[in-house]
Amino acid sequence: MEIWGYLPGTNCGECGEKTCLAFASLLKERKRKLELCTPLFEARYAEKRKRLAELLAPEIREIEIGVGARARKIGGEDVLYRHELTFFNRTALAHDVWDTMEAEALSERVKRITDWRKFYVGDFLTLDAIAIRSISGDAGRFAECVKDVAGKTDLPLVLCSFDAKVLEAGLKEIPDRNPLVYAADKTNWKEVLGLVKSYKVPVTLFSPDLDTLSSLALTFSSAGVTDIVLDPGSYPMGEGLAESFSRFIRIRRAAILEGNKVVAYPLMAVPLTAWMVYGAENAREASYWEAAIANLFIIKYVDIMILHSIEPHSLIAERTLVANIYTDPRRPVSVEPGLREIGTPTEHSPLFLTTNFALTYYTVESDISSNKIDSYLLVVDTEGIGVEAAVAGGQLNVELIKEALESYKVAQKVNHKTLVIPGLAARLSGETEDATGWTVLVGPRDSGRIPDWMNTNWPPKTGS
């Protein structure tokens, strides 16, 4: 192992691992930071440390936009397929505002983007950035808008104009917010290069022609600007869409497989272009098409994208997809089976059954606890398969339920001998009653409806 060779090899344990070899393998998987190896920072290891840092640097440069708690890292990827390791920095979703907006509409929109959240698998999904478009082309007006937005959000900002004067007016307002500049192209690059060098901010380079884009990237990096994002253009329809799709893939593949360092930077897409085809008057169609394009580019390598629709359906679908694709596939599919207490249950509390598929478990758990239903949750071992599939595939069966009731001594916890099974497992209810002697109630098909279900079904009617 190459990495191991650069570590001190003393197995000192400072990093928390027993051996340097163990630490090396964790470094390789990017599960540990090099800084944990404190001896390596002694002067005598300087050369090794430098080599190791180079060796461990991700294939795609990782850059940061914004400052503070909501700053976002983008890029930093090492693989083309998530199962080969994992994708690291989720696609940042930047939603737009523009400098011709009325003050009130502007602050309302900024607030909605900043505050948006949706609960998902134990945490809240949020949005990542705000892109400010200069429609007016007026430097003063843009500066005012940037100042206004910056005062109302702590999200990272993207300043959008091809006019370097307009960009500079914006940068002057927020020199300490580390905004992403959009964009330098083949005509304005000299001015924009000067600008991002003096303000020390990341910059997007735009060209649908990959030779020109490479040329821009080579020029900027040679000039010492390496916080670069590449936008090879997002055509929303027809052949143009197919070609855009191919450009993202070819760039990322060249960077990761072919060692083409010139383009080894984060990528940007602009699904917002869908709106230029459909028009604002066809908002639903436009938002669907925008989401569809975003869908393609979330999967195929885009690190930051600019979007227009802030309607809930767009945000929920797009952000959930990002969460799915950027989830570490190495994390366990299942949770430990067992009997969980939700809240502070008593012997009269309901007993729910679910599977040990992590997604199912966290969903059910949060539905019950968020609605403050004190209860027991019996998590059975379906080999990490969800309810519907486990019923179909036989992993969730009567024997398993019977065993779980016995081995977790559930009868000692509740006094009612009543088990609530998921609606999707309804077909097991009769057999389960016969095999266990417990009364089986069929719960709702979606655990989000447990509160309603409780109103009419709990406590259970006595007698039969």
Binding site: Y81, W98, S222, L296, H313, G448
Partner: protein, 433 residues
């Protein structure tokens, strides 16, 4: 122009004992073929000049490489000198080649082929990842089959409103899928045969299949109820009733009498759907059993299991992507077209629930907007992983997935005003007014 005299650094050079042959330099420079080397002059073995009259800067990596090789320092002034022109570069980029090829499978049989279908569909045949036309032109675009059921079922409102008046009649339902929504295929799900639902006898289910085959002339998929004990009997009867039509029989699974289903498909000239649950090894095992039973490769489609956006889509995506990559690398056990039950997307609560059950969530907006989008995203995502056949439900969702996949496939005929779009103008797009 700046000149670095190696003579001046003789001491350093001797200390490092580096001997540089021109070939070594050429080799290093080759790595940077993106850069034209007009500004580098090499004089004999004593001197090297770097730099250009117009103030060309060399890429830091090249400077570093030369530095370490030659043992010379490049003055930082050169690096930071203002650049007058864009440095020339070409992108290049190689094509990917794969050893394997996905089986081509045709569903449906015309009268010339012993059936009564007016159209057939062919899926598979890929030699590269989906829509990677820049590697190898994709042979067949993905196909969408619209679902119908043999009894009225509970559906989310945005779906139900399209089918309400045909739910009592599978034949009419199938017809509507084709006539009104342009379905290339129809799936009839014989769910009423489940003993815990209606326990409809196999013979009666076979009659339903005949009705659907009468009603439409597109190829059909015949789906059971998913009950592992009843499905073999039901699908056997259905396969017999559909003799010669080359239907897709859905499906065989390791937890049931797959042999009976496979034999019925084989005997009556159908394609079999080999279904596994997010498990590559189980899929390989079942496929090998099917080979052993004599099922020809051209009669197999696989269903590695679909999970909805937000409810395991990541597992389904990666499972399918891994299978497809394994197949392209040469694993013949997995080199089959992939079918995805995209309708599963409606199982996601976001697709149908009125409000969020989580009190701290931002407003979810109308559910009618969410549902179809969940189906679209689930479909497109699995299409990018390797899906060839999508079983879907919502007409608009099916239409959007079709449109996007056709464009990526490279189908012609799309009225293409976007081609003329100046996309850079998105910054000043003011359609909001």
């Amino acid at each position: 122009m700046r000149t670095v005299e190696k003579k001046e650094r003789k001491e350093k050079k001797e200390k490092k004992e580096k001997r540089i042959a021109l070939a070594d330099i050429a080799k290093i420079l080759e790595k940077y073929d993106a850069l034209e080397l007009q500004d580098v002059t090499i004089k004999g073995d004593m001197e090297i000049e770097l730099g250009g009259s117009t103030g060309i800067a060399l890429p830091p990596a090249l400077i570093q490489a030369l530095q370490s090789l030659l043992g010379v320092e490049i003055p930082t002034a050169l690096r930071e000198k203002e650049i007058g022109e864009l440095l020339p570069a070409t992108f290049g980029g190689a094509k990917a080649e794969w050893a394997g090829k996905i089986e081509e499978v045709t569903i449906g049989a015309t009268s010339a082929e012993g059936g009564t279908r007016e159209t057939t569909v062919t899926i598979g045949g890929e030699k590269s990842l989906p829509f990677y036309n820049f590697d190898v032109k994709m042979l067949h675009a993905p196909v969408i089959s619209l679902d119908c059921f043999d009894m009225p079922i509970s559906l989310a409102k945005p779906v139900r409103e399209h089918y309400e008046e045909v739910m009592e009649d599978p034949g009419e339902w199938a017809k509507k899928n084709v006539r009104e929504f342009g379905a290339e295929m129809v799936t009839i799900h014989l769910i009423s045969t489940d003993p815990t639902i209606k326990d409809t006898p196999a013979r009666e289910a076979a009659k339903t299949v005949e009705d659907v085959l009468q009603a439409v002339k597109v190829p059909i998929v015949i789906g059971g109820s998913g009950n592992p004990d009843k499905d073999p009997e039901v699908l056997e009867a259905a396969a017999e009733a559909a003799e010669g039509e080359r239907c897709l029989i859905a499906s065989a699974n390791l937890n049931m009498d797959y042999e009976r289903i496979a034999k019925a498909a084989l005997k009556h000239g159908h394609v079999i759907l080999s279904w596994s649950q997010l498990d590559i090894n189980a899929q390989k095992t079942l496929n090998r059993y099917l080979f052993k039973l004599g099922v020809p490769r051209k009669d197999i489609v696989i269903d590695p299991t679909t999970a909805a956006l937000g409810y395991g889509l990541d597992y389904a995506f990666t499972n399918i992507e891994r299978m497809r990559i394994a197949a392209l690398k040469g694993d013949k056990d997995l080199a089959f077209p992939i079918s995805c039950g995209i309708t599963n997307a409606w199982g996601a609560r976001e697709a149908w629930m009125k409000n969020s059950p989580i009190k701290e969530d931002s407003d979810w907006g109308p559910s009618a907007n969410r549902g179809p989008l969940y189906e679209i995203v689930t479909g497109l995502t699995l299409g990018l992983a390797g899906g060839d056949l999508f079983m879907m439900m919502h007409p608009q969702a099916a239409c959007t997935v079709k449109k996007v996949t056709q464009m990526l496939f490279g189908a012609e005929g799309e009225e293409d005003k976007a081609q003329k779009l100046e996309i850079a103008d998105w910054i000043t797009w003011d359609g909001e007014w």
